[in-house]
């Protein structure tokens, strides 16, 4: 066995007294991809930042342990290395990429400067030679028109392109180890697939080792050679990827894997079904729809456009066609999911239905009444029947109000009685202890807050709940619990959900019907089984191809992937969009016809 490129021994890292990493040991072999997986607060990022000795800049301190790093024939301990040595290692022998491509690049320097200054630091190059290398790097990460990019600034590039630039920066000096800290978490699924394929290729060609930090078991299954599972600052399990997925030893790993919805899990099922979590005793019941569907929400030809202002007089110069001729029906007690990538109009669609933004045209009938035709006063009454759960449970609760007040406030608005009793019952319903009623939001965890957000939506007994990325910000285990809660509530209270999400696996788990959105239109709509098991539209197919599957036996990231970039939804004022025309390909299963 060759010597490991890096060996972490008994690492312990503290932040002002509290230990974020308690006792972590593992090693990485040359040319190997090791995935560090864990939920928020597990210490996985802190471990990677310690290896670069960057943790000190964030107020952390390495309290104990060794970071043995192989340099040539010498093994040195990075814990005791001085600042100058670390500088010569960073970016040179260890490269690193981060989570947020939108903020990873300096907004006031152009791409060339950001690509070359690391090179000039570590290698004796002339400026023109460095520029040539920068061009080469951009070609390597498959950026179109690399010459033009060098002179551009970060805000002129898309998120996927920025992440490619960040990778190019990290690869500049041909590091022997690349640390990737959640490099695809903020990206759309097709771009994620492209970036993962790119990392795989670069790893093969250059033969570098990769330390990949992620919370996403599906990504782990796709790229890892070995896996390190972390929980609350400790390593709970280490092993080859196949073993971890096939026969997890640690209880935490088993629980984590049980909580991950896998694309394809629902094949052959007729109705959504809660996930079977470890330690969950009661048998989950499937959400069989009623024999004769009863429509609750009927959306017809919904169109929403936002003005783009320009010029000295701030006139409307163009329009964003956010939602374009969208029609669908949500039945009582059922879930329809709107799925698509960022900017496809799924959120605008949900907001237009609730009239949080005003639609340009179309009709929205809720229980027979047209929501879009209501006066302000009437609308207020209607809002009792349609509620919303938002993505960020930290931002959607008022930090100055006790939870009880936040739950009783909507009831007070609609003149409901027994408010305090009802609030307590809602707490029971969403599985929170009643003594939490007196607490403030900051005293709760993210999952608990999202339960409050659900309870608040339920407070006025609505028929329809629009859930906009309601579980996207949560850890997998918490996400699974919240999803199960939502499904349980649906079974008991006969609620309908309009479930807006970018996560295909989650959508597959919860939906009765699915609508795939692209550029403001629904390109494919139908029963869950039809859309997932027999996708017809090319966009649905490429989306399905891009979704990573949490199974190391189903890898699909070979070769370079290049999905068609999504065109701009901004059009001049005189632009006349065509109508959405659908072809029926199965029972209730319709596909957008490519119109000319």
């Amino acid at each position: 066995m060759t010597k490991p490129i890096v060996e972490i021994v008994g690492l312990r890292v503290g932040f002002g007294g509290a230990a974020a990493v308690k006792d972590v040991s593992f090693s990485i072999q040359p040319g190997e991809t090791v995935c560090i997986v864990g939920e928020s607060g597990s210490g996985k990022s802190v471990t990677s930042l310690s290896l670069m000795r960057l943790v000190e800049f964030g107020g952390g301190e390495i309290l104990d342990g060794h970071l043995m790093f192989q340099r040539g024939d010498v093994t040195m301990d990075l814990v005791t290395a001085d600042a100058a040595t670390m500088q010569s290692i960073r970016g040179n022998e260890i490269g690193m990429i981060f989570q947020e491509p939108m903020t990873s690049l300096n907004p006031v320097f152009n791409i060339e400067r950001q690509l070359t200054d690391g090179l000039l630091m570590h290698e004796p190059l002339s400026r023109s030679k460095a520029r040539e290398r920068a061009l080469e790097l951009l070609r390597e990460v498959r950026i179109p028109e690399p010459e033009r990019r060098l002179k551009q600034y970060p805000h002129e590039l898309s998120g996927g392109m920025r992440q490619r630039v960040v990778i190019a920066i990290a690869m500049a000096c041909r590091p022997r180890l690349l640390i990737a800290d959640e490099p695809t978490t903020a990206l759309d699924v097709t771009i994620q697939a492209e970036i993962l394929a790119l990392l795989n290729r670069l790893k093969r060609e250059i033969g570098m080792a990769v330390m990949f930090i992620t919370h996403d078991m599906a990504v782990v299954a796709q790229i890892a050679d070995r896996v390190v599972v972390m929980y609350k600052g400790d390593v709970v399990e280490t092993g080859p990827v196949a073993e971890i997925f096939a026969a997890p030893k640690a209880e935490y790993t088993r629980a984590l894997l049980a909580a991950v919805p896998r694309l394809g899990d629902m094949a052959g099922q007729s109705a959504p079904e809660p996930l079977r979590l470890v330690g969950d005793t009661h048998d989950p019941k499937p959400l069989t729809p009623r024999a004769t569907p009863e429509p609750l929400l009927e959306v017809r030809n919904l169109t929403t456009r936002f003005p783009v202002k320009g010029g000295v007089f701030r006139r409307t110069v163009a329009q964003v066609h956010a939602v374009e001729d969208v029609s669908f029906t949500v039945n009582k007690g059922e879930t329809l999911s709107l799925v698509g990538e960022s900017g496809c109009g799924k959120s605008s669609c949900g907001r237009s239905i609730l009239r949080l933004v005003e639609a340009t045209s179309g009709t929205v009938h809720l229980g027979g009444q047209n929501v879009l035709a209501q006066t302000k006063h009437e609308l207020r009454g209607m809002r009792q029947h349609m509620q919303m759960i938002f993505q960020d449970p930290f931002a959607s609760l008022n930090p100055y109000m006790r939870l009880q007040a936040q739950l009783t406030e909507p009831m007070q608005n609609y003149g409901l009685d027994n408010r305090e009793e009802r609030a307590a019952q809602l707490f029971d319903r969403v599985g929170l202890p009643r003594d939490f009623l007196r607490r403030f939001p900051h005293e709760l965890s993210g999952g608990q807050r999202q339960r409050i957000a659900i309870a608040r939506a339920l407070a006025v007994s609505p028929g329809l709940i629009v859930a906009d990325e309601a579980v996207s910000a949560l850890d997998v285990s918490v996400q699974a619990q919240v999803l199960n809660l939502m499904m349980e509530l649906q079974a008991d209270l006969d609620i309908s959900y309009l479930f807006i999400s970018h996560d295909m696996a989650v959508v597959e788990r919860v939906s009765h019907h699915v609508a795939v959105m692209y550029l403001g239109r629904i390109v494919e709509i139908g029963p869950r089984a039809a859309v997932f098991e027999n996708p017809q539209h090319t966009y649905t197919k490429s989306l399905m191809q891009a979704v990573p599957i949490a199974d190391p036996n189903q890898r699909k990231l070979d070769g370079d992937l290049a999905f068609k970039p999504i065109p701009s939804p901004i059009h001049p004022l005189d632009y006349q969009p065509h109508q959405s025309v659908y072809e029926t390909v199965g029972l209730d299963h319709r596909v957008l016809v490519q119109a000319g």
């Binding site: 290692i89 970016g91 989570q99 960040v166």
Partner: protein, 330 residues
């Protein structure tokens, strides 16, 4: 400020830049017109008039009426305003009642004197505030930060004439290093001019510095916690480069904008400080004009100060756009 983010090419191109400057100058001109109307109205609504100021309150009513007639004070206000603004536009700003000389050259002279103080105090403030603010941001929540914040708070809480008095006592009275009052024109003796302008500039600079330090600190500390700073460190750049190039390049725009807005505040402060140091600049002149009800002079000084402040802010906005590629000039 009409700046906008976005766009898909480097926005600071000569063509758009010239249109932008033309638009902004037009809006400066319109604002000045409005200011001229307001100052003219206010000075006319106040009791007493120019004739009274010239002849004194004890003067003969008939002589007063004669003077009023000859000065055109009996004409309708609109006619008087038209005559005044016409003069302003053609360069004939009239005569000061107190100084008995043409207002145009008088103001030009004093503007040059005050410019020396404004530039020096701003330089002193920026030269101290930026390093201090960066130092505080780099050592956030440590003793360095507390020290810098306390210093800044002291600077803000104490009025600048207090600093003026303290500086006179220390540097002029006890140490005798610098003159306590007076003005020397830079063209006559540059060293002497700077020596005379130094204490008033320092007194003004201390107050400015406090604001700018706080601005630098808060901008820098939010920038230092951003991911691109981590990326810069992960590239192996030195701390010096990371802080003084990567971070400061992002912080300098907001700091300059605040500095630009403070030029307006400075022109308020120099009224007190120039009088305290007997430094004969615009502040001193405005004070004299107000004290002696020299109405033509008041109108002109207000007008000039407004113009200088507006043009300074235009220059700052252009500089901001030159530094930050995300800013698009409309």
């Amino acid at each position: 400020m009409q700046l906008r983010r976005g766009g898909n090419s480097r926005c600071f191109t000569p063509g758009t830049c010239m249109t932008y400057i033309a638009n902004r100058l037009l809006s400066v001109a319109l604002t000045l017109l409005l200011i001229s109307v307001i100052t003219f109205m206010v000075t006319n609504i106040l009791p007493g008039d120019v004739a009274m100021v010239i002849m004194g309150t004890q003067s003969n009513p008939e002589a007063l009426a004669g003077l009023r007639e000859s000065l055109g004070l009996n004409d309708p206000l609109i006619v008087q305003y038209g005559r005044w603004i016409g003069g302003m536009l053609t360069g004939d700003w009239g005569n000061s009642l107190v100084f008995k000389e043409a207002i145009g050259p008088l103001i030009a002279n004093k503007v040059a004197a005050s410019a020396l103080i404004v530039v020096m105090s701003m330089t002193i403030a920026l030269a101290a505030a930026i390093p201090l603010g960066v130092w505080a941001a780099v050592h956030r929540d440590k003793w360095q930060d507390t020290t810098a914040s306390t210093t800044a708070l002291m600077g803000v809480s104490l009025p600048d004439f207090f600093w003026g008095i303290m500086l006179i006592l220390l540097f002029a009275r006890y140490l005798g290093w610098l003159p306590s009052s007076g003005f020397v024109h830079p063209a006559d003796d540059f060293i002497a001019a700077v020596r005379h302008a130094f204490l008033p500039s320092l007194a003004l600079g201390l107050g400015l510095m406090a604001h700018l330090t706080r601005m630098t600190r808060s901008t820098m500390s939010s920038i230092l916690s951003q991911e691109f700073i981590r990326v810069a460190r992960a590239k192996g750049l030195t701390e010096h480069t990371v802080i003084w190039r990567y971070a400061l390049a992002n912080a300098i725009g907001p700091v300059m904008t605040v500095a630009g807005l403070q030029v307006g505040y400075l022109f308020g402060s120099i009224i007190v400080i120039e009088s305290l140091f007997n430094f004969t600049g615009m502040g001193w002149l405005t004070y004299q004009a107000l004290l002696n009800r020299d109405i033509p002079l008041i109108q002109s000084t207000v007008f000039v100060i407004a113009a200088v402040v507006m043009i300074t802010n235009l220059v700052v906005d252009l500089l901001y756009a030159a530094i930050d590629p995300r800013i698009k000039l409309p």
